[in-house]
Each structure stands twice: as structure tokens, then as C-alpha cells.
């Protein structure tokens, strides 16, 4: 058994010289014990042999191996010297092995090297200097606890960066001191030797909390790059728990605060709902969110006063609506008007829109036959409906037909028996359900059509009454019922 003593845990040159010597003498890896300094010898009662003399044939390995070994040697794993020596022998015998990233030993050493690189990078990032006054001159002192033996390897980075400053880096493994011209090393330090604080740190903490956006809390992403083990020596991380705890409250406060009355400015920007709707309508005219725009004549956007209390949502424009560019003017629209008149609801008080804003049809000879929009098309168009709702903030939404309900809730609920009922939308707006007027046009018998129409009128009237009566409380039963079904 041969024992090799290295000067320091990061003594790459020492390892390199001895490893070369051992390899040239053909010593197998299991016959070498590597140690740093004067560690207690004969741990296993093995008598140490003298090292073989430096001789033998010239010995080369590819350069990438040297780079890899230099990095991996800084790892804190006590087995690193032995692993590297074993790898050295394998690479010497077969230099192509360095390309074999599936080789378990090479893989292990590469993982060690990459861990070291990460540790080096994190020290560049997470080390913080504190300023002290020394002999009338500023001096910057940092306390840092690296995980691997990277202190010396990192000296160059800090000299490059802070050459004109006087600084010291204190670690439990050793210290570095730069006086503006030369770098000196010192013995391990204790945390108490580092200064406690620095007035600039308060400003830095102010910055750290202000640049954090509470609406985007992603603690996992933060921890992946800045694990807790680094936190103890960074001034800003003390704030993290408080920032996380307060994030939701701050986000809700941001939402609750809006919208306030805008400041009057020279520009007098469009702040009112009417202007917002007009701009949205202009944007919708160019919509290409799904394929329907290629066939249809134009976007048929919603219509009605911007302060309407009730928003009525239908399915999609038909043939006549597509040509005129206005919702609910065809046969179904006429029926809708008739029912509104009977229910005593003035149409000009309603905001009327469709779930899907382009006409979908199949061409049959001269006729364009209505085709039902699919879920993809409904979901693509939902963006517009959401924007309309957000601007109008109606007190009640009336969903006419299954497509409207899908667009409002994202769920497939069939209306049928549930017409006249209500539910609560995700944002808390009450929503009433009824059939789509075109459904009534398709009913086979006169009797059914009459009965259906009667019921439809009741639903519309119910919506108007509901506007006064609907409260979260009153809707609860109906909502529960519907959720049970879906």
C-alpha cells in the first residue's frame, strides 16, 4: 500500500505529480491511499510502502482530462483523489474513453466537476461584502461558506472585479486578502470576525422587496436556483418568508384597488367603458384566433349600452348577421325581440353578444347552412367574451343555449331541464340559463313551439325579476344542483 500526502485539499499540482509517478510505475488504484496533510496514518493498520521512484515511459493524457480533473479535485468528497487516479489509468489506456459519456466512472467524475462549477458560480453570485472603515480607508469584508474547496480557485474572479478595492473573503476553510496589489492567504476564520452589517444593506433589502412581484409567486423556481443552504449569509433572504406570506394579500389589494378614478391628463385617454368597448370591437375586427374568420364575412361583435345591467350571450351569428355585422337580427333575433316584448324587457337596455363571433356554415348550393361551432372554436373566442364581461361588469348574465354556457363556464352543461335556473360564474356574477331562440324555431310541432316560446318568455321575465332578487344566497341551491350534474 502506498500513501500519498497532498499539501492542501485543492492541491492539484501535488496530485498531478504523484499520480503521474504512480501511473508510470504501474501502481493499481486500490494500492494507493490519498490523504491531505498529516492526517492520522495507518487507519487500517496498513503499513505504507515507499513511493516508487519517478521513472518510466513518457506519459500523456488528453487535455480535456486535465481540465476535468482540475475541477473535480475541488470537490469535498474524500474519495476524489482515488476516483481521479482510477480514471487517469483508464484514460491513459484508452484516451477515447473521455468521449464515452455513458461510462459510469467518467460520469461520476463529470458530475463532481459540474457540482464544483456550480459552487464556484454560486460563490460569485451570493457572496456579499460589507464595508468597514480601516485607517480612514474603506475595506470590504465578506463571510462565505463554500461547500467545496473552491476558495483559491475563485480568487481570480474577485481580483478581476474588485482590483481597485481593498477586500477580504473569510471562510471556515481559509481566508483571502487583497490590498489593491497583492493577494495573500490566511488561516480559517470564524463568522464573528466578519462585520455585522452595513448601512447600504437596508437599501439593498428595500430594492429586493420592491422588485418582487407578489402576483407571480413562484417559490419553487426560487429555491431551485437559490437553495436554503445559501440563505444564511445573504442579507436579503431574511425577507423571503415575510414576502411570501404577504404576497397573496398584496395581490388581492392590487385588484381591490382598481379601477380608481383616473387622473385627468392632457391626453384625456379613453377610460370609460364605451371607449374601451369600441377599441375592443376594432381589435376584434381583425381576429384570427381560429379558422372561422377565413370563411365569414366579418366579425359580429356585441351590441348594446355599456352600462347595461344584463348581458345576453347567444351562440354565433347566422347568415343575416354575418352580412350585416350585427347580432340577433335574423329569424332567431326576431323571435328574441318578440319574446322580449312579451316579457316586458326593452332590448335597448340589454347588451347582446355571441359566444362565437364569426359565422360558421356549410355551403349547400346557394345556401349557407348554420354549423355548430366546436369546443376549440368556442374556447378560442372566449377571450373576447371575457374582455366584454370584464369591461361591462354586468349584474347578470343570461346564457342562451349550451354554447353560451360553455363559453361562460368552460364546462359542458346542457340547458334542457335547467332553463330558468341560475348559477354563479367564476367571478361571482350571477348567470341565468335559457334555451337559444333558434332552438324554438326548430321544434317540430306547433304545440311544442308555443309551449317552448311561453317558457322562454318566462325565462326572460325571470331574468329581469332575478336582477332584483338574485343574491349569492338565493342562487346557492340552483348552483349546487348544476354542479352536481356536470
Amino acid at each position: 500500500m502506498h500513501r500519498v500526502c497532498l499539501d492542501a485539499p485543492d492541491d492539484f499540482e501535488g496530485w498531478r505529480t504523484q499520480a503521474r509517478r504512480l501511473a508510470q510505475a504501474g501502481v493499481p488504484p486500490e494500492a494507493v491511499v490519498w490523504q491531505v496533510g498529516d492526517a492520522p496514518g495507518d487507519l487500517f493498520g496498513v503499513e505504507a510502502q515507499a513511493l516508487p521512484p519517478a521513472r518510466g515511459r513518457p506519459f500523456t493524457v488528453p487535455k480535456p482530462f486535465v481540465t476535468l480533473a482540475e475541477q473535480a479535485l475541488l470537490h469535498s468528497d474524500p474519495q476524489r483523489f482515488a476516483l481521479l487516479y482510477a480514471l487517469l489509468l483508464k484514460v491513459a489506456a484508452n484516451p477515447a474513453l473521455l468521449g464515452d459519456r455513458a461510462d459510469p466512472l467518467l460520469r461520476r467524475v463529470e458530475t463532481m466537476a459540474s457540482t464544483v462549477r456550480r459552487d464556484i458560480h454560486k460563490m460569485h453570485a451570493f457572496l456579499r461584502f460589507r464595508e468597514v472603515e480601516e485607517g480612514g480607508q474603506p475595506r470590504f469584508i465578506a463571510w462565505y461558506e463554500p461547500e467545496h474547496h473552491i476558495l483559491r480557485a475563485n480568487a481570480g474572479f474577485f481580483v478581476d472585479r474588485f482590483a481597485a478595492m481593498r477586500w477580504s473573503i473569510l471562510t471556515p476553510q481559509g481566508t483571502l486578502h487583497w490590498d489593491g496589489e497583492t493577494l495573500t492567504e490566511g488561516p480559517p476564520a470564524r463568522r464573528e470576525e466578519a462585520p455585522k452589517g452595513d448601512p447600504v444593506e437596508a437599501a439593498w433589502q428595500t430594492y429586493y422587496s420592491a422588485i418582487f412581484n407578489p402576483a407571480r409567486l413562484m417559490t419553487g423556481a426560487m429555491l431551485k436556483e437559490m437553495p436554503r443552504k445559501y440563505w444564511k449569509n445573504m442579507p436579503e433572504t431574511a425577507l423571503v418568508p415575510g414576502l411570501i406570506a404577504d404576497a397573496r394579500r398584496r395581490e388581492l389589494a392590487m385588484i381591490a384597488q382598481a379601477p380608481q378614478v383616473p387622473r385627468v391628463t392632457r391626453h384625456a385617454p379613453p377610460q370609460d367603458r364605451g371607449a374601451a368597448l369600441r377599441l375592443l370591437r376594432e381589435e376584434a375586427a381583425e381576429c384570427q384566433r381560429c379558422g372561422l374568420c377565413s370563411q365569414a364575412t366579418q366579425t359580429v361583435f356585441g351590441e348594446g349600452p355599456e352600462d347595461a345591467a344584463i348581458m345576453v350571450v347567444g351562440e354565433q351569428p347566422g347568415d343575416q348577421e354575418d352580412l350585416a355585422g350585427r347580432p340577433f337580427i335574423g329569424p332567431a333575433g326576431a323571435l328574441f325581440d318578440r319574446a322580449l316584448a312579451q316579457a316586458g324587457v326593452p332590448r335597448d337596455r340589454l347588451y347582446v353578444t355571441n359566444a362565437v363571433k364569426h359565422f360558421k356554415f356549410e355551403q349547400r348550393g346557394k345556401h349557407r347552412l348554420h354549423a355548430r361551432p366546436n369546443v376549440g372554436e368556442i374556447d378560442a373566442c372566449r377571450w373576447w367574451l371575457d374582455q366584454e364581461r370584464a369591461i361591462l361588469r354586468p349584474r347578470l348574465v343570461l346564457a342562451m343555449g349550451k354554447t353560451a354556457l360553455r363559453a361562460l363556464t368552460g364546462q359542458n352543461i346542457s340547458i334542457g331541464q335547467e332553463a330558468g335556473q341560475g348559477l354563479m360564474l367564476a367571478d361571482g356574477t350571477p348567470c341565468r340559463l335559457t334555451v337559444h331562440p333558434s332552438h324554438l324555431l326548430r321544434l317540430p310541432s306547433q304545440a311544442e313551439a308555443e309551449q317552448g316560446f311561453k317558457r322562454y318568455v318566462e325565462d326572460l321575465r325571470g331574468a329581469l325579476v332575478g336582477l332584483d332578487q338574485d343574491s349569492a344566497e338565493g342562487l346557492e341551491a340552483a348552483t349546487d344542483h348544476l354542479q352536481g350534474m356536470s
Binding site: D100, D160, M218, E251, A276, E283
Partner: protein, 416 residues
């Protein structure tokens, strides 16, 4: 305003900058202060993230607004003229002091300065340039500087910005022209793109001059980038990817940043308040990598989106979505396929592909070899062939997507 302390201003003007997505300090030129003069260095390659905020974003640069007063009225912006937000304004000297103070303590890689528009675009740009000039010339600062430039400012000022900065950026703001018209009535796509085009020319001239005369000054060595807001207009993911790709080509951009529209206090009535679609932003960044590192064309990324809605799936990444849509391209033989095909395999990154290419010159790859070179085999198996593995029916299974997508999590019943 003068009654505000420096810390008060810092709180206001950093808060105002938190909606800006970009913070990178990468891709510049290597510099140091070894000569004992000046302060700072840049690595040239990868930037350094000095901290991470609880929102998961890195803090590399001191990201500030010179002022959050603005004569413009962009609806998505907290600093728009009609907002009731508290206003503050730094002097150039104050920003310089903060940058140097934080830099000396190793808290930052440099400065990222933006500003609301005050008085006029020229006046504002002058102030921004003055900060950078003072840092570089008066203090010999050699750290990273990223300046946001204002499209309408005098070209001479924008040129000066490029001389002092490592990187400059001009925001396109929104992916669609109609969105820009609705939400940023004071801005115009023509002016923005004109400025980006001019900047591209200036950067190219700068590089050219450096090649010929070593004494020529650096001009924005880290190039230009841009940012667009996602979720405030009707643009679909497919449109956004196509737009980003055009921008990369036309203006030789280093990066296109996406910023998910975020609820802001005191929002304009034109905008709905909603939690930002953060996952959507993440998927767009993944698609950006597909364009830049994986050899996908924008049309191919578009094909990974839902055909009807044009949106990328949120539950799986775009590369997996593409593979599931084009199953006839799989399985790929890891021992034979060219690099371009290996890069298409979901779950294989660029580094894993390089490892496979070098290893297979020496051995026939088996599944266990692949396991040592990649993060997870589970996702990979249906798409690859190795010496001892062939997925047979797996690739064609109709429930493959549900096998690979993350399992839906139980929602918290009593979430706060």
C-alpha cells in the same frame, strides 16, 4: 417630490420596474479591472444571478426606472399618465451612487435602466444616457449596463446609449398592431420597428469598425433585445411565436422576452384584472428555445399548438406536444439518427444530445447508458430505440399523452 428620501424613491422606482421581464447580464464582452483602475468586470458568456426573488426571477442587474412619471398612457402600464400611482424621480447622480454602492458589495452585475417619458422623448433619453455616461466616464465602471431606449428619441442620443451600454432594448410592447393601437395609443409599430432597424444597423457598423480598427469604441456588444406583453391582447401563441421569429430575423435580436400581463394596481378600465397566465409565459419561453437551439421553424412550433385555438398546451411542454402530434417521426434510433432528429426527442436537451453523439462513437447505446446521460427515462422511452429497447406499440397508444402529462393535482379545499 423632493421630500422623498433616496430609499423611498428606490422603493417606488424599483417597484415600477418589476413588471419588466428581462434582467440578463449575458452575452457581452469580457472585461475586468485588473489594471487597478475602475470598478467591475463582465464574464462575457453567462451572466451571474446574484439573488432570486420569491417570484422565481433572478436578480442580476439593478433594475430601476429613472422616473415613473410618464406622458404616455399605455393601458397595461402602471406608470401611464392617468394612473394614480405614487410618483418619484431619481437624479442621474442618485442612480450612479446606488449602482456603485450595490456593485461594490457584490449584490449586482450592473444596471438596467428604463424610464417613463417626461417632457419629451429626447429629454428622457438624455437623462438615461447621462447615467450611463457618468458611470462609464466619471467612475470608470466596467460592469454591465442595459439601457432601454425610446423609439422617438433623437438618433444621436440612441447612438450614445449604444456606446455606453452592453445591451440596449426597444420594446415592441404587444404582439399585434391592433393590440398596440388599443392599449398603447401613443405608440406606433412603425416607429418602434424603425428604431429597432436603426439600432440593428448601428450595432452591425460597430462590429464592423471593431474588426478593422482595434481602437474603435464598443457599440452595444451584447446586442439588442425586446419585450412583448402576453395576454393583454387577442394574439394566440401561434401568432406570438411567428411574430417573435420575424423579429429575430429582421432585427438580429439576442432575445425576445415575454411578460405575462400582470394585474396592476389602479388598472385602466380597458384592461381586465386577472392573474397572469404564468404557465403560458413559460411555454412561450420553451417555444423560444425550440426556435433558437433545437432547429424548429416557427411553423413547426405553431403546429404544436391546438389547431382551433392556436394556443400551446399548458399541461405539457411544446416539444412533447409537437412529438405527440407528429408520431410518425418516432421512435428515433439513438444509435443512428442525426443530431437534428435527436434534438426533436421530448426529454432530450442539447447537452444530452451531445453526450449521446460522443458516446455512441464508442459503444452501442443501451437503455441503461441513456439513463446515465439524461434526467428521466420515463418521458423518453416511447420515442427512442436503443440496442436493447424498442417501444413497439407504445408510440402509437392513444393514451400516450395522458401517460406523459403530469397527473392532475388535488386542489386544496381550504386554500387561503
Amino acid at each position: 417630490m423632493s421630500s422623498l428620501s433616496l430609499t423611498d424613491k428606490l422603493a417606488i422606482l424599483a417597484d415600477a420596474a418589476k413588471y419588466d421581464a428581462s434582467c440578463a447580464s449575458s452575452g457581452g464582452k469580457k472585461r475586468d479591472s485588473r489594471d487597478g483602475k475602475g470598478l467591475g468586470s463582465t464574464s462575457g458568456g453567462m451572466g451571474i444571478c446574484h439573488a432570486y426573488a420569491p417570484d422565481g426571477r433572478c436578480i442580476s442587474l439593478l433594475k430601476l426606472l429613472l422616473t415613473n412619471s410618464c406622458i404616455f398612457d399605455c393601458h397595461y402600464c402602471i406608470n401611464r399618465a392617468s394612473s394614480n400611482v405614487r410618483r418619484a424621480r431619481f437624479t442621474a447622480a442618485e442612480v450612479v451612487k446606488l449602482t456603485l454602492d450595490f456593485y461594490r458589495r457584490n449584490c449586482i452585475e450592473g444596471l438596467f435602466l428604463s424610464s417613463g417619458i417626461i417632457h419629451s422623448p429626447d429629454y428622457t433619453m438624455e437623462q438615461i444616457v447621462e447615467v450611463a455616461r457618468a458611470l462609464r466616464e466619471d467612475h470608470d465602471f466596467r460592469g454591465y449596463i442595459h439601457l432601454k431606449t425610446i423609439p422617438d428619441a433623437d438618433p444621436a442620443l440612441i447612438e450614445a446609449a449604444g456606446r455606453h451600454a452592453d445591451r440596449v432594448s426597444i420594446n415592441v410592447e404587444l404582439p399585434t398592431v391592433s393590440g398596440l393601437r388599443r392599449l398603447a395609443p401613443d405608440k406606433s409599430q412603425d416607429r418602434i420597428e424603425g428604431a429597432m432597424g436603426a439600432m440593428r444597423g448601428a450595432i452591425a457598423d460597430g462590429h464592423d469598425a471593431r474588426r478593422r480598427y482595434r481602437s474603435a469604441p464598443d457599440f452595444a456588444p451584447a446586442g439588442q433585445s425586446t419585450q412583448m406583453i402576453v395576454g393583454a391582447d387577442a394574439a394566440t401563441d401561434r401568432e406570438i411565436v411567428a411574430r417573435a421569429s420575424t423579429l429575430y430575423e429582421r432585427f438580429d435580436l439576442r432575445r425576445v422576452y415575454y411578460s405575462a400581463f400582470s394585474p396592476i394596481p389602479d388598472a385602466s378600465a380597458v384592461l381586465p384584472l386577472r392573474r397572469p397566465p404564468l404557465m403560458r409565459e413559460h411555454r412561450l419561453y420553451q417555444s423560444d428555445w425550440l426556435l433558437r437551439y433545437y432547429g424548429f421553424s416557427p411553423q413547426e412550433v405553431g403546429a404544436a399548438a391546438d389547431p382551433a385555438t392556436g394556443m400551446l398546451p399548458l399541461d405539457i411542454d411544446p416539444k412533447l406536444a409537437w412529438a405527440l402530434r407528429f408520431r410518425e417521426s418516432f421512435p428515433v434510433d439513438l444509435n443512428r439518427a442525426p443530431r437534428e432528429l435527436l434534438l426533436r426527442i421530448p426529454g432530450l436537451g442539447v447537452r444530452a444530445v451531445d453526450a449521446i453523439l460522443s458516446a455512441r462513437r464508442l459503444r452501442q447505446l443501451r437503455l441503461e447508458d441513456v439513463a446515465r446521460m439524461t434526467v428521466s427515462l420515463r418521458k423518453l422511452r416511447p420515442f427512442i430505440v436503443t440496442a436493447d429497447w424498442r417501444p413497439v406499440a407504445l408510440t402509437d397508444r392513444s393514451d400516450l399523452r395522458s401517460m406523459l402529462a403530469p397527473k392532475p393535482a388535488q386542489l386544496e379545499l381550504f386554500a387561503a
